[in-house]
Symmetry: C2
Subunit: 298 residues, 2 copies
Amino acid sequence: MSCAKCSEPAPRRIHRLVVIGVGLIGGSFALDLRRHRQVDEIIGVGRSRANLDVALNRGVIDRIAEDVASVVAEADCILLALPVAAMARVLATIAPALPTHCLVTDVGSTKQDVIAAARTTLGDKIGQFIPAHPIAGAETSGAEAAREHLFDGKALILTPLPENRPEDVTTLTALWQTCGARVTAMAADVHDRVFAAVSHLPHLAAFALVDDLIGRPEAELCFGYAGAGFRDFTRIAASSPEMWRDIALANREALLIELDAYLAKLTEVRALIEHRDGDALHTLFIRASAARRKWQGG
Amino acid sequence: MSCAKCSEPAPRRIHRLVVIGVGLIGGSFALDLRRHRQVDEIIGVGRSRANLDVALNRGVIDRIAEDVASVVAEADCILLALPVAAMARVLATIAPALPTHCLVTDVGSTKQDVIAAARTTLGDKIGQFIPAHPIAGAETSGAEAAREHLFDGKALILTPLPENRPEDVTTLTALWQTCGARVTAMAADVHDRVFAAVSHLPHLAAFALVDDLIGRPEAELCFGYAGAGFRDFTRIAASSPEMWRDIALANREALLIELDAYLAKLTEVRALIEHRDGDALHTLFIRASAARRKWQGG
């Protein structure tokens, strides 16, 4: 069905949504769609029965399915909200029984590897898979952390495939817009480079800084006097170890480039301090400080 | 005068407080002491007349002195709230006319270099100088940023000198406690090592990360999609370039050791990613994440 006015395909109604991985992201997506009555039934699937029970008790999902295979045939939309390394296995389970009309999408923090896994596992059903990434992570996780309005004003990036049906892209865009997200699209390789720089590298740098403190003789004293700067700088070091291991490996090539650039920049700063080059340090700090202030304002 | 009960020296009343550098820290100290009526008059001195006018108009200070030399003789307490590199020059100006009873203190982020500057410039008046460091920085600065309650519950570290008079230490402790600070003491070299690790290194790492983004072809795209993790990780990169240049140089030796340890840790993380060693990455992330969560809880 198309819009009578502009020939843009109209979004399709999703009756039954299957959320695989009912955590912070999958659960919050479900809560917002329920609140706006955009879906009729939400079914949760996951590894942890305890987490699914939390999701059910909090009204995040309507019912629990024992496994993915048992629920694929009745799904209109399947959301994969899993660590990226788990996508291939789950996609392979979905593939055989996937109904032709069913839209499959994900929320993975890396896109090229997930697309590669989807191409391998879905075969000629690849057009049904629309890769996506909501920019709304937090250091909390699990169904307990799911909440309404998480995506309000946040970016949702689609990296659509040439095989995607326009009406599916319209439908998925409408679902995320219902959640308050600003939906944009970009190429998967650009996505992975950009997020290696502004998200994945900072996470590694924060994990590394905290790990660097642990085990030294003055560790307790250090943690005892760490202030607000340390608190904010290392907030993301409390993130899910499993999720970030997967992201680090999935976006390996872009991350190695970013790590090398960052190591070179830190080595440059180290040399300026060693050579007591106050002017050059000042210039670098002025430049970085101005860019950070401008970004915050924007 | 001593306490009749325990022989602990009683705090002395400060009639006239001179604040040199009426910014976030110096101005907030003044506001809290005024609010609690702990001083009779607060005089501001500084490089920027415009900033001093803001301080006067906001009621942070009672009057402006044209220069340090003109006001030293009438001071009971002098607070040096300056970038650490400016301390030596100001201390040299203060030294000749400094009254015997006048307490001098600072709020510098490094202590060994400030103490060395004080010893050189104050000579046999060194006992009047009590080094101090409130852990209450922010990325804002100037008299406009000064506010009441800034130090509530924050740590104030004294690194007292053997020459300090006990009643002066008691008096300064009481002033900071009036501002709500938790006053503790430690050796200056321990202070500088601890803050190199938990404050100075994170600031350099944040400046470096932002500077690493600037100038690349995809910089605008990167800043456009940077999310909450980037926001918190780089908040301190908006800090005063001048102050941080001075700190980097003042705490050079401890910082070079910290930078080397951090570069080694990041190089370790890079090697784990290059060799696709997911288990070792997972172990490191679990360790760091647990330490960060424990710290937040504590």
